[in-house]
């Protein structure tokens, strides 16, 4: 019974980790941006869903859509207010732009985090489950919402796969990740490609934030932890590799769940972090990353 419990819990949490990390890695793969305001974006989505559900007594699905929209708006705000000005700045040397973007998004994330804490406190917010109730699976009482989260995550990831591999727009994204210069020579506007990737990123981070709020709850104090978690998964999977991130999300998710159940929830994140250090030493490009 414990094994079934670990299987179910690990699956749901890993799916959520995967969804959170996929957008983060897609962004890096296509535009070379490591968005350290990632956790803050998820928190904005979560808190928006909570506000819409609570203050306007909206249906949980309406709240979820509002939260996802807030994720997209935050992503665009990050791009237009922080990333693009740095990328276009003449006073920042080209070689240092990445580090400026990294620092800029980190500070922007802290600003968002503080603003959310100021207006809505740093207490965790939870959104009503999209479907309430529990069901028995192999003798384990499981919230239906937990299963729904796994289903939504995999549906969204599946749609992303279809978009990237089966649509023209997706192929452009792929091309931008492989050789942006050649793409420009073919007449594609890179800035349009970047806008698309920020929009996709916003949707993914927004959905992940809302689902997190319906599952475990999210607070502004968790923003940096959420970024660190996505960052670890992406590094473990290989920077820029979507399939690597998904694999790493499941490795981390199950490692954490096993530790929480078999050792103690207090040491939940320790083995995954040790594994990350080992992978960085032994295989610096990650599990499925390109050299």
């Amino acid at each position: 019974m414990l094994a079934v419990q670990i299987l179910i819990d690990g699956f749901a949490i890993s799916a959520l980790y995967g969804l959170g990390a996929v957008g983060f890695t897609l962004m890096f793969g296509v535009s070379g941006v490591l968005n350290l305001a990632h956790g803050a974006t998820m928190v904005v989505a979560a808190v928006t869903a909570w506000v819409v559900a609570g203050q306007y007594a909206a249906n949980p699905w309406v709240a979820a859509i509002a939260g996802t929209a807030a994720g997209v708006i935050t992503a665009f705000a990050t791009y237009y207010l922080v990333v693009r000005p740095i990328q276009r700045s003449r006073s920042v040397p080209a070689a240092e732009k990445e580090i400026f973007v990294l620092t800029g998004t980190l500070l922007w994330g802290i600003m968002i985090q503080e603003a959310v804490a100021y207006f809505y406190t740093d207490n965790p917010k939870t959104v009503q489950p999209l479907i309430a109730g529990v069901m028995q699976i192999g003798g384990v009482r499981t919230p239906i919402n937990e299963l729904l989260i796994a289903v939504i995550c995999w549906t969204v990831i599946g749609l992303l796969w279809l978009l990237v591999n089966r649509s023209k727009a997706g192929k452009v994204l792929l091309a931008a990740s492989i050789n942006p210069r050649a793409l420009t020579l073919l007449g594609f506007e890179l800035s349009q490609v970047y806008l698309q990737v920020w929009a996709i990123y916003g949707v993914l981070a927004g959905i992940a934030g809302v689902l997190l709020a319906t599952f475990l709850g999210a607070s502004s104090a968790q923003a940096s932890q959420l970024t660190a978690s996505a960052f670890s998964i992406v590094v473990l999977g290989g920077l820029g590799s979507v399939s690597g991130s998904l694999l790493a999300a499941y490795v981390v998710g199950y490692l954490e769940t096993l530790t929480a159940y078999l050792i103690s929830p207090a040491y939940r994140t320790v083995p995954a972090l040790i594994l990350l250090v080992v992978v960085i030493y032994v295989r610096p490009h990650g599990l499925l990353g390109r050299r």
């Binding site: 965790p124 959104v127 919230p143 502004s220 769940t257 159940y261």
Partner: protein, 417 residues
């Protein structure tokens, strides 16, 4: 004539000039309002319990000022945000003492921060009243080295008293109606829960409740499923909690996962008026200790709740009550001392006998192991047991409204004996 009159004019002018010179400082002194009495408030503004401290202080200071102040002097509350960091809190205390010249500091709901500020109160000889921390180490330091630490006062119940109150509540409220024979103690790992848990392990067996397990978890825990899974396997009648830094997540997950065991004990966040909204109603059925709540503890409780809610939109968390009382206790001490000198204020605070929103406030003396902690007991402050029912905080014990009954959610019913 002319000379005489000229000299008379000169004499008058001279006299007038001298009079003006002589009168100017006095006149100016009369024109200026008396100096305000500054009180430093240190808390985290973005935490519900922290905001309760600063808001409770403002409500109290405004009420005192509206009634004429303290001996004609207005109270001025200076707020410092410590971001729940001991380092920030210490810097705030230093600034309050050396730059802003406060006469006393009130604040923090975090025991670790109260313990960090205690030595600074000793060094600067400025009274410090903590209104939300619960560790008994705070008053133990005063007892162990009175001359040095006498500046610290603990105006919230020390953790062992909270445990005792909860055990009394279980005995008088639940055991007559339900079979409560076994429990698992579930507490966050923090300074305030060490003495809380130690007393739980003593007082629960005394009322016939066998403690099957004692679980301490990290306040960083976000997924409580493994903990609930373990507890469910042990089949206790109740989960007895000791949580404050966390609250929303364990409550929501308990409800979502329909853990079939009622939660009772100390859930500080559940004492906040926003907890129902924060948990989307998952708080239904959670029984918690509270220092006071909407309804009657003393005749001052409800008027305070109303004025706080009118100003800030929600009912106060537990720190709002204690800080409101602390400002009043301090104002009375200043009056008694006839001074804002630290030494004299400490002596005056020791003579406190104030009926506030949480009960009759007095501090233990030098001989008690809880020196300068708030006195616990039916005739002083004993706390209450409350429960969230249909979006409202309902007081269940010791004095409940006639129609009020304890009620648990369908998934977590207690057995009848």
């Amino acid at each position: 004539m002319l000379d005489r009159s000229t000299s008379a004019v000169h004499a008058c002018a001279g006299a007038l000039f001298t009079a003006v010179l002589a009168c100017t400082p006095a006149a100016a002194a009369q024109a200026q309002p008396p100096e305000t009495i500054k009180i430093g408030i240190i808390s985290e503004e973005s935490a519900i319990a922290g905001a309760g401290i600063s808001r409770g202080a403002q409500v109290a200071a405004d009420a005192i000022n509206a009634a004429g102040g303290v001996d004609g002097r207005k109270l001025e509350v200076i707020l410092y945000d410590d971001h729940s960091s001991a380092a920030d809190a210490v810097r705030a205390f230093q600034r309050a003492a050396s730059q802003d010249k406060v006469v006393a500091v009130i604040g923090t709901y975090i025991s670790e921060i109260a313990l960090a500020l205690e030595p600074w109160a000793a060094r600067s000889h400025i009274p410090f009243i903590t209104t939300g921390a619960a560790s008994n180490e705070i008053s133990k330091h005063v007892h162990d080295d009175y001359d040095k630490n006498k500046y610290t006062f603990h105006q919230y119940l020390a953790s062992p008293f909270v445990s005792d109150s909860i055990c009394d509540g279980v005995k008088q409220l639940l055991q007559p109606q339900y079979s409560v024979k076994t429990a698992v103690v579930l507490s966050e790992d923090a300074a305030w829960t060490a003495p809380l848990d130690a007393e739980y392990l003593v007082c629960l067996p005394k009322i016939g409740v066998k403690v099957l397990d004692h679980i301490r978890f990290s306040p960083d825990t976000s997924d409580f499923t493994p903990l609930y899974n373990k507890i469910e396997g042990e089949k206790p009648d109740v989960i007895v909690t000791g949580i404050s830094h966390v609250g929303v997540q364990p409550t929501v997950q308990w409800a979502q996962q329909q853990v079939p065991i009622p939660m009772i004990g100390m859930s500080s966040q559940a004492t906040s008026g926003t907890f129902w909204k924060d948990t989307n109603g998952a708080a239904a059925g959670v029984v918690t200790f509270a220092i006071a709540a909407e309804g009657a503890v003393t005749p001052k409780t409800q008027p305070f709740v109303s004025s706080y809610a009118k100003r800030f939109g929600d009912a106060p968390p537990y720190t709002g009550f204690t800080t409101f009382d602390a400002i009043n206790v301090l104002a009375e001490a200043i009056k008694r001392a006839g001074s804002t000198d630290g030494e004299k204020l400490v002596a005056a605070l020791e003579k406190t006998d104030h009926v506030g929103t949480v009960g009759r406030v007095q501090f233990y003396g030098r001989d008690s192991e809880y020196t300068h902690a708030m006195k616990y007991g039916a005739e002083y402050v004993s706390g209450i047991m409350m429960q969230w029912q249909n979006g409202k905080q309902v007081t269940l014990w010791p004095k409940a409204a006639p129609q009020t009954k304890v009620s648990f959610p369908a998934f977590a019913q207690l057995k009848r004996p």
